[in-house]
């Protein structure tokens, strides 16, 4: 609070030795939609102010290792790829292979079991001396199983980039009114929450991604890049996840 009262911030000119370019792959499949998406781009210099350079002409194959079936992807817009229609059953292992030029990147991910999302509700934070409303996600965690969650919130049609990735280490088997505490909402807001159950390594990816999210203001002594499940040195992740959605208006 002293920091709040006394400190000041200013923007400063900044120069840094730039990194070598890296390929960034963000690949998602789920058990609800009958298609997968892959987004490929290149990393940038820290102070670059262009859009992330898309990577076109990649060759992408998804293989269901359990049922031994292949799915092909085609490029829809530069750097964005979409699969043909397929079904991704729970418990199946999937392998994604991305070929860019002469380089190949591979990742494997298992489709997790779903958890039922009952509803979302809202908590007026002013009664605790806080500000605005927080969304509560209501669901029953399954006991005795390590579950990993990711929540994606959309407010008035705008998807938030705030990261909420949690495991049930501290609430195994408990009914949750899980609080999405990072955004402060107002009466009249239309809120949509996508609750994903994700894999352990994808949880670790998002949890560490939020650790190095410098917008959070904390400065770590040893910040590190989140561990990608891709081989070949690509950044990003390949996530197979199960999801459910709920929508409500704050009244």
């Amino acid at each position: 609070m002293i920091i709040l009262l006394i400190s000041c911030e200013k923007n400063i000119p900044f120069k840094i030795n730039e990194m070598n370019k890296r390929i960034v792959i963000e690949a998602c499949i789920n058990d609800v939609d009958h298609y997968g998406t892959v987004k490929i781009s290149e990393s940038m210099g820290l102070m670059d102010d262009s859009i992330p350079p898309p990577v076109s002409m990649a060759k992408i194959t998804l293989m269901d290792l359990t049922s031994k079936t292949n799915v092909e992807f085609t490029e829809t817009t530069p750097g964005n790829y979409k699969s043909h229609v397929f079904k991704a059953p729970q418990g199946h292992d999937f392998e994604l292979t991305v070929q860019v030029g002469d380089k190949t990147y591979k990742a494997v991910c298992e489709m997790p079991l779903p958890i039922i999302l009952d509803s979302i509700s809202f908590q007026d934070m002013t009664i605790f001396g806080g500000n605005g409303f927080h969304t509560l996600v209501n669901f029953q965690d399954s006991k005795g199983i390590e579950n990993y969650y990711r929540f994606v919130q959309t407010v008035n049609g705008v998807k938030e980039s705030l990261l909420y990735a949690y495991n049930d280490q501290f609430f195994d088997g408990k009914y949750q009114n899980f609080e999405l505490f990072k955004s402060h909402l107002s009466i009249g807001d239309t809120v949509c929450v996508e609750m994903q159950t994700i894999n352990k390594n994808i949880y670790q990816y998002f949890s560490q991604l939020s650790n190095v999210d410098l917008n959070s203001g904390q400065q770590l002594l040893a910040p590190a890049n989140p561990p990608s499940n891709f081989s070949g040195g690509a950044l990003g992740y390949f996530s197979a996840y199960s999801y459910q959605k709920a929508r409500a208006i704050i009244q």
């Binding site: 609070m1 002293i2 709040l4 009262l5 006394i6 400190s7 000041c8 911030e9 923007n11 400063i12 000119p13 900044f14 840094i16 030795n17 730039e18 990194m19 890296r22 960034v24 963000e26 781009s41 290149e42 990393s43 940038m44 210099g45 820290l46 102070m47 670059d48 102010d49 262009s50 992330p52 908590q123 934070m125 605790f128 001396g129 806080g130 500000n131 980039s161 990261l163 280490q169 501290f170 609430f171 195994d172 408990k174 009914y175 949750q176 009114n177 609080e179 190095v212 999210d213 410098l214 917008n215 400065q219 770590l220 002594l221 910040p223 590190a224 890049n225 950044l235 990003g236 992740y237």
Partner: protein, 775 residues
């Protein structure tokens, strides 16, 4: 007998029969302040005829010397007191107490002599600084609250852990490698208000010593330094009340006799209330927040008889930080120490100390989903028994033993039944530690003194408890279980220490030291700022004791009748079994934290120069430190040496105090240091709907250099017989330098494709005013 001080002479019957074969006799006693009757440690008694001998009073004000029969010319000197001389005629063993009169000058000004007069150079070990709190009396301080921890950071070789932090680095060690003792009890977390203040109320501190080079073998347990702090022992004769009123802190202390000359007490309280101003914040959110601390000291000194005295000292402090009603953290220390000092006979003294220390925090979180508390604590109880045997003036032996029981309770979660969380109880970890130490101080001749000793440390797991062994990749390999009271196989560390002090020419001294230290209590933090929730770990089946070897050499010179003093010290330190964590480790509430830890080595070396002016209306010093501190871990930066967080090559401090007259004193501080190493991102990429930052090398970058000027004016009230008062006006960061506390990167709010670097400055110009009084 001089008019300047009084001598009270006691001829004690029990000493009268004592004699040495060479017809030498014991002279012993205490040196006290003539006004307050407080004992004075570090006072020099110099006997110059027929053979020169020097003795320095101990931390309890006692001195002890063997002298041949005959007349001796004696000079007694102490910083802040009038020096005087007298002749003592030794015919038999006797006890003499001396009462020194505070010098007029010292009452109004400060003597910035961190080492006392020329004789100190002769007496002290290398890398030791003894400091009286009055030395720092008139220096400008942030928010007007005097803080010894802020002041010692102006000394060479001691670096601040950052603005707004009471942590400090000594010769390349991290901030958890400093042993901080208050009246003999270990202080595990010395910070208030998340580090803006230290837990030590400077009104009641008598003196303290900092050991950064050669550490005497009676101390151990931390690698880099020992800060040995003693509270006052005044009040055997009369009552005094002291206090101060400031904008965000106030304090008051009272001391006096319960039974005159037999039992004296001290009580003191301090409160900080920065949240008092929060009410006026324009932000309604901020208005509900709370941030404050208070602390309380009490002490009892009991003179049992001529040979025995007892002192009991206690401390309790509590900090509170709360956000609305949904989050609150309370943390603080509890300390108690009991010290029994006994003069066994003319050659043997003993001290027995029992101490108990407890640092803990509890966090309360209450919202719609959770109603829980997170609790953690670190405690220890320790018993130390030591002897000092003075064989003769040239040979003093110190030896003793101490045993300690440690208990660390890692953070446990206690959830209410309706809460969305489960309670998680992590078993406390207990350890048993034993030490045996021995030290011999041998004066070869007038010019050379050698000090050597050893400390043998044994540290083991104390059951019950369950432990898991991990391999170098963090995979479990073995489960080990200890029964109730079962003691594990100990880590035994031999810690030899030796130092040499030679007067190479008149007023010029060359000193050398080698010290090995072991550390078994480790503090682990992944944040740039010290937090009360930083985790403590003790050595166990996976974590081995940290070890440090240090060699240092120094040259010291007194110039112009000790008006000036010059010192140069160089050191090289090797650190083994240093602890760090894997990149991106999750440290909060992690039961299996040990698998995140990695072990490596460190090295630190440097040169410390200091030039002081100790007398006259203008006093002060300039200090410069050139140093390098590195660490090496196989899994960090491809196993190469890298700059440690503490690595700041250049560090300068300039301190000046000018006493215009008895009422006005002006002082200033200027500090400069190189920026700390930091890990900045090397690039960015777009993932999960946001810009993510890409990191290449740990500590591959450096913060901008830091510099700051502070000024202060102290106006003393017109001298009144029973009442003293002063006003202090100070300006922190007088030229309003925007020093970087942190540099963060974020998306430009106007253009999400653009990244901006944002520098946070903690304190721009901060004025303060404090009223101090003494009654």
């Amino acid at each position: 007998m001089s008019a300047r001080f009084f001598i009270v002479l006691f001829l004690t019957t029990y000493l009268s029969g004592f004699s040495q074969s060479t017809s030498s006799f014991v002279l012993q006693g205490k040196v006290r302040d003539a006004r307050t009757k407080a004992t004075l440690s570090g006072t020099n008694l110099i006997f110059s005829t027929p053979i020169p001998k020097v003795v320095v009073t101990s931390s309890t004000g006692d001195y002890f010397i063997l002298l041949p029969a005959g007349k001796h010319f004696l000079e007694i000197s102490m910083v802040g007191y009038e020096k005087d001389t007298l002749t003592v005629n030794i015919k038999k063993g006797m006890s003499l107490d001396f009462y020194l009169k505070p010098s007029e000058k010292a009452m109004d000004t400060v003597l910035i002599a961190t080492q006392k007069r020329l004789d100190n150079l002769k007496k002290d070990l290398i890398g030791v600084q003894r400091i009286s709190v009055s030395d720092f009396k008139n220096l400008p301080v942030l928010f007007g609250e005097k803080d010894i921890f802020k002041s010692i950071q102006l000394l060479p070789g001691i670096k601040t852990a950052g603005e707004g932090s009471s942590g400090f680095y000594v010769r390349g060690g991290s901030s958890d490698q400093n042993l901080i003792l208050l009246d003999g009890a270990t202080v595990n977390n010395a910070s208030h208000l998340l580090g803006f203040f230290s837990v030590f109320n400077s009104d009641i501190i008598n003196n303290f010593a900092i050991y950064k080079g050669s550490i005497p073998s009676e101390f151990g347990g931390r690698l880099s330094s020992v800060i040995d702090i003693h509270t006052q022992e005044e009040g055997l004769e009369k009552f005094t009340m002291k206090g101060g009123l400031g904008l965000i802190t106030s304090r008051i202390s009272l001391q006096g006799p319960i039974v005159k000359k037999k039992i004296a007490f001290l009580v003191s309280g301090r409160k900080a209330y920065p949240d008092a101003y929060v009410k006026y914040s324009p932000d309604t959110l901020v208005r509900h927040n709370k941030l404050n601390f208070r602390d309380f000291n009490a002490k009892l000194n009991i003179v049992l008889n001529k040979r025995n005295d007892l002192s009991i000292s206690a401390y309790k402090g509590e900090d509170y930080f709360g956000l609305g009603t949904y989050f609150g953290i309370a943390y603080g220390n509890e300390l108690i120490s009991m010290k029994w000092r006994r003069v066994n006979n003319s050659q043997l003294n003993s001290t027995t100390t029992f101490s108990y220390t407890n640092f803990g925090y509890d966090i309360k979180i209450k919202n719609s989903n959770s109603d829980l508390m997170i609790l953690s604590s670190i405690r220890n109880a320790s018993l130390k028994h030591e002897y000092q045997f003075t064989k003769n003036q040239n040979n003093v032996f110190k030896f003793g033993i101490d045993v300690t029981l440690h208990e660390i309770k890692p953070s446990s979660i206690i959830a209410s039944s309706g809460s969305g969380y489960n309670s998680v109880e992590i078993d406390p970890k207990r350890n048993f530690e034993g030490n045996v130490f021995f030290n011999h101080s041998h004066q070869f001749n007038k010019r050379a003194t050698m000090n050597y000793g050893v400390r043998i440390n044994s540290f083991s797991i104390f059951g019950p408890g369950n432990y898991i062994n991990y391999d170098s990749l963090g995979n479990p390999t073995k489960y080990v279980s200890y029964r109730l009271f079962q003691v594990g196989i100990p880590y035994v560390t031999l810690e030899p220490r030796v130092s040499l002090n030679v007067e190479i020419a008149r007023h010029q001294y060359l000193k050398f030291a080698y010290t090995r230290n072991a550390q078994n209590i480790h503090q682990i933090s992944n944040s740039t700022s010290a937090n009360p929730t930083d985790m403590f770990m003790s050595s166990n089946n996976n974590i081995k004791p940290e070890i440090a070897d240090q060699i240092s050499v120094g040259y010291f010179k007194n110039i112009n009748e000790s008006i000036y003093e010059f010192s140069a010290e160089a050191y090289y330190k090797s650190l083994y079994r240093q602890i760090d964590f894997r990149n991106g480790s999750q440290l909060v509430a992690n039961e299996l934290i040990e698998r995140q830890l990695i072990y490596g080595v460190g090295r630190a070396y440097g040169l410390e120069l200091q030039f002081k002016r100790k007398k006259g209306p203008l006093t002060g010093w300039i200090a410069y430190t050139l140093s390098k501190t590195e660490r090496k871990f196989s899994s960090v930066n491809r196993g190469n040496w890298f700059n440690a967080r503490q690595d700041r090559p250049h560090e300068i401090s300039l301190v000046g105090i000018y006493q215009l007259n008895k009422r006005w004193t002006f002082s200033s501080i200027w500090v400069y240091y190189s920026g700390s190493p930091v890990t900045f991102p090397a690039g960015k990429y777009y993932v999960a709907g946001q810009n993510a930052y890409y990191y290449t090398e740990r500590n591959g970058n450096r913060m901008p250099a830091y510099h700051r000027l502070d000024l202060s004016i102290t106006l003393y009230g017109k001298p009144k017989p029973r009442y003293e008062s002063s006003w202090s006006f100070a300006v922190y960061n007088a030229y309003n330098r925007e020093n970087a506390y942190s540099i963060n990167f974020k998306d430009d709010p106007l253009n999400a494709n653009k990244t901006i670097a944002v520098q946070t400055t903690l304190f721009k110009l901060v004025p303060s005013i404090v009223y101090n009084f003494k009654y």
